[in-house]
């Protein structure tokens, strides 16, 4: 949902900047006047001539499965299930389900480490990360079972953007290694 919002917003931004560029076009000449005059007008930032509309990169994976013990399944947004193996990509919206005596570890693109304990369900509900600026955010939901999180670059850059929730609590982080256990329906 957040993601849709972000998408919608960036859509708006693109539309907005296009409109702005158009609006500016006629005024280009007048604006580029004496550099010395302390431009009193709302001198619009010179729109880069060829502002490439945000190179819509293909949505990269959120991270990779590092180790698997026992029975571990991945479910994507459409409900398709696949058994997890080391090296598998984890999508930005994916569920990890572990059986009894089973566990798995995942490292996300920003170096966040997640270890999922036995008989657990963990939803990665949202993940985005810009490797250039280290900006990003994530939402992890532990539906049942246990997990350990060792936060990564997003936790350093935008700690408020790392959110962990269960049915009875939400957890905010401040550069951290911690465990969560949640009781819930299987």
């Amino acid at each position: 949902m957040m993601k849709k919002l972000v998408t919608a917003l960036s859509g708006l931004a693109i539309v907005g900047s296009a409109a702005l560029a158009q609006a500016q076009t006629p005024s280009t000449a007048p604006v580029a006047v004496p550099a010395a005059s302390p431009a009193p007008a709302p001198a619009p930032a010179p729109a880069p001539a060829l502002a490439p509309a945000a190179p819509a990169k293909a949505d990269p994976q959120a991270g990779f499965v590092k180790s698997v013990r026992g029975n571990v399944q991945l479910l994507n947004g459409t409900g398709a299930t696949r058994p997890a193996s080391p090296g598998d990509a984890l999508g930005t919206v994916d569920r990890i389900v572990t059986g009894p005596d089973s566990s798995a570890s995942v490292v996300l693109r920003d170096d966040t480490t997640l270890v999922v304990g036995p008989s657990s369900r963990l939803d990665l509900k949202e993940f985005h990360f810009d490797g250039t600026t280290y900006e990003g955010g994530m939402l992890v939901s532990l539906l049942r079972g246990s997990m350990r999180m060792i936060t990564g670059l997003i936790g350093k850059t935008n700690p408020d953007a790392v959110r962990v929730e269960t049915q009875t609590a939400t957890i905010g982080i401040r550069g951290t290694d911690f465990i969560v256990q949640a009781d819930g329906k299987p």
Binding site: P60, F64, V65, K66, S67, V68, R69, G70, S85, P86, G87, D88, A89, S103, A104, S105, V107, R109, D111, T113, V115, G117, P118, G131, T132, T133, L142, S146, M147, R148, I150, T166, Q167, T168, A169, T170, I171, G172, I173, R174, G175, T176, D177, F178, I179, V180, Q181, A182, D183
Partner: protein
């Protein structure tokens, strides 16, 4: 296929002591959160919010319990590290080994790696292939000559060149990422517009 990487690390010992407390909590349905010590010993904290209030855990092995149906803020107590670890053994055993980092440099003004850097590439590749589910992040960096935007692009191109070298050597292309950090992470801090070869580098993170 079912590889488990376990690595001995100094922090593990510390953390092992913590594990005992979590089990005790299991009798209360709800959510329990236990703060573990940072590997580097630096302070850290988590904020645990329940329906009607929140608590901050700022000492290692503190635990917050948000019970089902309870009102008010989560209950906080101190847990026995050994018990926490015993109760959550997979969460400690399954933690992946820490990333390995390498740095390579280009010949002056060119796109060819220095001979020493080619050797480093070989080491990084071997490390990545040896790891369970290994992936690589290649990050380009520039010095402070030129604009920030140009340097973002330049650093990304350098990173892509190194990625290409890994792919040519059969590392799976879908498990390697090129990133340009521009002049954000200077190895040698300088003023703006300074030509500094040691800042023109590519770092390789194997994880």
């Amino acid at each position: 296929m079912m590889m488990i990487s376990s690595r001995p690390r100094p922090a593990s010992l510390f953390i092992a002591t913590l594990a005992a407390a979590l089990l005790a909590a299991c009798s209360t349905p709800g959510t329990r959160v236990v703060l573990l010590p940072q590997a580097d010993g630096k302070p850290s904290a988590v904020v645990v919010r329940a329906k009607d209030g929140e608590e901050v855990l700022s000492k290692p092995y503190q635990r917050a319990t948000a019970a089902v149906g309870a009102s008010g803020a989560p209950a906080v107590d101190q847990v026995d590290p050994a018990k926490v670890q015993a109760e959550n053994k997979p969460l400690f055993d399954m933690r992946p080994p820490p990333p390995q980092r390498y740095t390579v440099y280009f010949d002056i003004g060119g796109t060819t790696l220095t001979p020493a850097s080619q050797q480093i590439m070989t080491e990084a590749l071997a490390a990545a292939l040896a790891r369970s589910g290994g992936d690589i992040v290649v990050t380009g960096h520039t010095d402070t000559k030129g604009s920030g935007e140009q340097n973002d692009q330049l650093s990304r191109r350098r990173a892509q060149e190194v990625v290409q070298l890994f792919v040519e050597r059969q590392f799976p292309a879908n498990r390697i990422e090129a990133v340009g950090r521009g002049e954000r992470d200077l190895a040698i801090p300088t003023a703006d517009e300074v030509d500094e070869p040691r800042n023109r580098r590519v770092t390789i993170e194997v994880r």
